[in-house]
Amino acid sequence: MTSKNVHVKIDEMKTGSGLIKNLELSIGKVINDNWTEPMGPTPMPHISTLRDWDMKLLNKYKPFYMPDCDLCCLCTYGKCDLTAGKRGACGLNIADQSSRIVLIACCIGAATHNAHARHVVDHLIEKYGRRFPLDVGGLNVKVEAPVTRLITGVKPETLGDLDDILAYTESQITHCLSAAHTGQEANNLDFESKAFHAGRMDQVGMEIADLAQISTLGFPKAEPEAPLIQMGIGTVDPKKPVIMCIGHNVIPSVGIIDYMKDKKVDDKMEVVGLCCTAIDNTRYFDRAKIVGPISWELRFIRGGFADVVVLDEQCVRTDASLEAERVKAPVIAASEKNCIGYKDRTNDPADQIVADLVSGKVPGVLILDPEKVGEVAVRVAQQVAPMRKKMKSLPELDQIKELAKKCRHCNMCQRNCPQDLSIEPAVKAASEGDYSKLAALYEECIGCGRCEEACPVKLEIHSYILKVGEKKMLEEKNFCRSGRGAVSDVEIRSVGGPIVLGEIPGIVALVGCANYPHGGKDVYDIAREFASRRYIVVTSGCSAMSAGSYKNEEGKTLYEEFPGGFEAGGVLNVGSCVSNPHIAGAAIKVANIFAKRNLRGNYEEIADYIHNRVGAVGLAWGAYSQKAASIASGFWSLGVPVLVGPHGSKYRRMLMGRSDKPENWEVYDARSGDKVNVGPAPEHLFQTVETPQEAMVQIAKLCLRPNDTWKGRMGKLTHYIDLHKRHYGIMPPDIHMFVRTTADIPITMKDEITEILKAKDWKESIIPDPTMLPRMIRKVKE
């Protein structure tokens, strides 16, 4: 770190010459720099520092834009029609505009995670002090912050160090977003490069948030055997008062759980959660329960299970408070980013707030002190629960039958359903007393409620679906492993070699939100398929929940069936959204710990290493948010391919290689400086897949890396071919592009593949020491 500063604050000091009050003195900051590793070339990169690296990737994986809107309406020159190459009043064309939208999305995502980190770090510094040491795994995790170390060149040791690093990321996100102003950046690839930079800042921000909370709140520390957590509304005891926490920021929930423990009522109440707050609650308190992914907020609020709803930040439905009011559940807004129009009662006495909420005088309050949130939530839940008797807003079946008769059969429900679900026939059948079609929608409905908004006669269709699916909902009893946090250095030492050599066929990260095309079972099926094939399967966030929401034929969930270690055939939940950098961090640590590459401010070299050697693929099957975009962007810039499910096409831009253009697939052999064609491995950096079958085939293919040994490539090809044959019924047509020597050919398919190679006029090539960076060539050719 180049800037070294000192900050002295004196609230009050008596001296011989008088009284000093509120003195603040800043002369720079002191960074305790005990890290002896030499500084790399790009510490604390600015928005253009890594542009060359970004362009290498963006020229290999060119953007394919699919504009979601033909217009630009971001300034008063507009609206400007950018259709088919027209430029707008500011001079921007549709490619620039499309990439600008990508940048804006990534900035929103990065800002959201960094603001989350800022809140967590400020709060924890206030509580524990700046010098509180970071510890994410004791002696098992010496590289505690691989992403931060790599990008900033700083080895954080205390909470105070995280505060300083956040100042850097916050400034960079501001720079990135400023580039989206009218009349700033003018080139689509430069917009994309800045989106990559926002993704890098996102990764740092997320890592800081999780480092801070793991270190201070007693979360599992790189524990493969992190507790199995009860999941599903069926695990919630309806006789107990229920507090439902929704969002991503665990701090208010910590206030609730602490108060419950302090008053010794933690076994007499239920604290349950939706989305990442749910996961982080369980990292803090293993009796907390997860009810489901974020997209099913309506399902669980309308179901009337909650006696108090606590809303923090991110991905919270903005009508969650209105829905809670319908079931007479008092609401506590606990984040200044999500005040919901409620009166700020932070400084009011708790007794008064509790009385107002219990009496129904106010439907909700804003409380920005997490300890007060805890007291108010617990006391209100205790008092309200006996009165509410779990009030529901769901109609009875005979009511549904009568209400459904009002349907005009206009089909606006289906035409507004993101899943294009066949709703009208289900409503029609319900009007005749047949609820089976409505019941069939329960699994696929993602609970957005757009059908109701579109209905001209205001039928509450989602409530009908919930009612007929109620039995199934109440039977949901599964397990999710609590977020384990980092991958330990020991684990990396065990698997680093097999990953880089290709003997472990890949790392498959199932991450992101729950905007699934056909329910969450696809996530389970994909995870189980690859775990069974002894890939390392990593989960986080809502995908971690969906992966645990189904059982095998023995009645075991995925987390019970497979071990939780970072090992072949392991299924490990790293945690919430902000835990995703543990996945990137594992790849970075392979380069650092296994391959002994320097980490410090050495982004290009490490990304180049990961891109060419670490067969990792991310799948965000239900990604919907801007945060998911920035998370993906952080992986793209590391050269890690990301797949999204069909709804992910709405991110409007793919980054795709062209397997039919051999010239795109040349790398340098670092041993000789020769250019070597390594084939399309990995073929894409960002790609939408249409079906789970296609996802499985693409995942297997995208795990191929130029550095695979023949043994590793043979194993990876075996999986690729096997999945291709199973789902497509045919040998992959591009197999010749991935066979470098005859030793790569899977033994059991030797004859078949040899024939294909002959027909394709295949020629043997070498397995290089691959790099895209000329400076990594050890011997420059004359």
Partner: protein
């Protein structure tokens, strides 16, 4: 039959698909094309009409019209199960990206398709790919033979019932059968 986007928010601005009012018009346009390509998505096995799947209608159409089929997702396996071999298969995004490249020489390497016909992709995916082609391959002619209006195509059938869709596909197939293919 409505020429509003099937999913209401998938609107286009100034350039919208011309509606195909009769299947004969689609047939005439396909016949006029020198290098048509039919892209079939994963709904081919999800849509049922008159007790048959969409894919069965499309196989009959492809056999009659001789328009080469490119299958997306895992549809190649579904075609093969039914005894029909598509000319090619790749992901929907891969084919979209290739079509916007004017130097791409088609699935047979003999020339860029002059008419790309879409059917059976998830509506929003198809809409986005068609948008990509409208913007970045403005000279590319695109058509959908879904029963759902796609505003970003060059030509699209209006929104229609499953019964009308089945009828349209059968008429198109019969017109080619009667006239010996494309």
């Amino acid at each position: 039959m409505s020429c509003e986007p099937w999913q209401c928010s998938e609107i286009a601005a100034t350039k919208k698909a011309n509606p195909i009012q009769k299947p004969e018009i689609a047939v005439a346009m396909i016949k006029r094309a020198a290098r048509p390509l039919l892209i079939v998505g994963s709904n081919a096995t999800q849509r049922w009409m008159e007790g048959r799947q969409l894919i069965d209608y499309l196989i009959e159409f492809a056999n009659a019209s001789k328009v080469p089929v490119l299958a997306t997702a895992h549809m190649v396996g579904e075609f093969l199960k039914r005894g029909y071999t598509p000319a090619s298969f790749m992901t929907a995004m891969d084919i979209g990206q290739r079509i916007v490249d004017p130097t791409w020489q088609g699935i047979d390497g003999k020339g860029h398709p002059d008419l790309v016909i879409f059917v059976g992709l998830p509506y929003y995916m198809e809409a986005l790919i068609l948008s990509g082609l409208k913007h970045f391959a403005p000279d590319q002619k695109t058509m959908t033979i879904d029963n759902l209006y796609h505003a970003h195509a060059s030509w699209s059938f209006p929104n229609a019932s499953l019964e009308d869709w089945a009828s349209n596909l059968k008429v198109m197939t019969s017109k080619f059968e009667n006239n010996g293919g494309n």
